[in-house]
């Protein structure tokens, strides 16, 4: 998929973002980064195609922009940097706008509000009523996610969980496997992918919560690309209103 070099520069230095939209239109193509390990948001099917809610959404957005969509798969924690370095025009990866991220990149309005889930092995005796009940238990998160940040700030920094009981994974499915294998007790991630992974690996969901999630999923774009942001915000708003997003969500099994 990504073997060929981009035929055209998707973007020059992020500073001159004012012309970003024009550049994309001129190139006839938007290069979008994702981390395809997060069904039902994004994953790769048996034929090697990018599938999932985010993927369908960005293609629909591309259609309304009138450009082709080129998707590049990379580790979640490289996405922001890649966007910053101008390697990508946008990132769609079930990503949430956090204060730290917003220092580096800009975000569109949310296209979907979400919750997080704590998952554990089927035979786990753990009972959770609130996120802080995870205190003291070994827990896996994906590197660079809001969930990782939440655990660090609310469990580790407060001394509730020792630092060596927190494991940052390259990919969410690896963390899920380790819960299933009994190497760690808990997994904290977005609710829907958690349920999807739980189904596949035989985990059980202990708690679904809004308090660890900090808002909704947004598309990240280079800092200062105001024209692109305006256009994407407009399209997202339009899709929220005309039911397009609802339709795509349902098609991908999302409530």
């Amino acid at each position: 998929t990504a073997v060929q070099p981009a035929a055209q520069q998707p973007g020059a230095a992020p500073a001159e973002g004012s012309g970003k939209l024009a550049q994309i239109k001129a190139a006839g193509k938007i290069v979008v980064g994702t981390s395809a390990d997060y069904p039902p948001y994004e994953s790769i099917d048996a034929d090697g195609n990018f599938v999932g809610f985010d993927m369908d959404l960005i293609r629909a957005i591309g259609e309304r922009l009138g450009v082709e969509v080129e998707i590049q798969d990379m580790p979640f924690d490289s996405l922001i940097a890649a966007l910053q370095e101008g390697k990508l025009d946008a990132v769609i990866a079930a990503m949430q706008a956090t204060a730290e991220r917003e220092e580096k990149v800009d975000f569109t309005i949310p296209y979907r509000m979400t919750k997080d889930a704590f998952a554990a092995a089927q035979n786990s005796t753990l009972v959770m009523e609130k996120p802080e009940d995870a205190a003291g238990h070994s827990i896996g998160v994906q590197t660079g996610t809001v969930q990782e940040r939440w655990v660090q700030e609310n469990l580790v920094a407060t001394g509730l969980t020792p630092a060596d009981k927190v494991f940052s994974y390259e990919r969410a499915d690896q963390a899920a496997l380790d819960v299933a294998n009994g190497r760690i007790e808990l997994l904290l991630m977005d609710a829907e992918p958690a349920m999807e992974l739980a189904k596949q690996t035989g985990l059980k969901i202990l708690l679904i919560t809004e308090s660890t999630a900090e808002g909704g999923k947004s598309i990240a774009i280079p800092k200062g690309a105001s024209d692109l942001k305006a256009e994407l915000d407009r399209i997202i708003q339009e899709m929220l209103e005309d039911g397009t997003i609802q339709r795509i969500q349902e098609a991908n099994g999302l409530p």
């Binding site: 910053q84 990782e148 963390a175």
Partner: protein, 224 residues
């Protein structure tokens, strides 16, 4: 500049913890590799034919495939067969098995370069084959293998950097976490590179001291 100092302050404690983990993994794996490589190397040269073949297969398998795949197979694959190792144990085992294959080959070369005459002379004063291997051949081979072994130690130090992929918080793993926390991959990886350079340099100097110390006139080269 000030921003960099600030960043350095923020990341240093975690990176130092990572150094500890890296050194631990390198040391344990190297020793495990030695424990494997020693008998395998000897078996390759002095064992019965069937054993030589079996050991050659082990060596081909581990030298012929990437370490990273070996690591994933051990960590993520073995649970399918009912063997679930902790992340550190998986790192030790994979790196140990991998290093064992290389160390065995180095030792084989050294054993073969000791020379037929030493064995004959040992047998001639009534030593059994095993006693001769133990007290005459191996002591020489182990000294001859030292330079290659030093290289392996340094290679090992560098190869530990893949264990972050099974969520081990080694130096590289810390770098990964920190760079997504501070969104500053280039300076952080640069700092990490400097850490590795220091570790590798120190190891190199240390092992050269060891080589000097174990030097025997005429048997091992002067210095290099």
């Amino acid at each position: 500049m000030e921003a960099f100092v600030q960043l350095l302050n923020n990341v240093l404690p975690s990176l130092l913890q990572g150094v500890g983990v890296t050194l631990q993994i390198a040391a344990v794996s190297l020793l495990l590799g030695m424990a494997i490589g020693l008998p395998v190397g000897v078996g390759r040269v002095y064992g019965p034919r069937w054993l030589q073949r079996a050991l050659a297969a082990y060596i081909t398998l581990f030298q012929g495939t990437p370490l990273l795949i070996q690591l994933f197979l051990v960590y993520y694959g073995l649970p399918d067969l009912g063997l679930t190792l902790g992340r550190m144990e998986a790192a030790f085992l994979t790196l140990g098995l991998n290093s064992g294959a290389y160390q065995a080959e180095y030792l084989r070369g050294a054993l073969q370069s000791v020379g037929e005459g030493q064995m004959t002379a040992a047998r001639a004063i009534g030593m059994s084959k095993w006693l001769a291997v133990r007290s005459i051949i191996l002591p020489q081979a182990l000294r001859l293998v030292l330079p290659a072994w030093s290289n392996e130690a340094i290679a090992m130090l560098k190869y530990t950097a893949v264990v972050f992929l099974i969520a081990v918080p080694d130096l590289m793993g810390q770098a990964k976490i920190l760079s997504s926390r501070y969104f500053a991959p280039i300076p952080i990886y640069m700092i990490v590179a400097v850490f590795y350079i220091v570790l590798v340099g120190a190891t190199y100097l240390l092992l050269r001291q060891l080589e000097r110390k174990l030097h025997i006139p005429g048997l091992t080269g002067e210095t290099h």
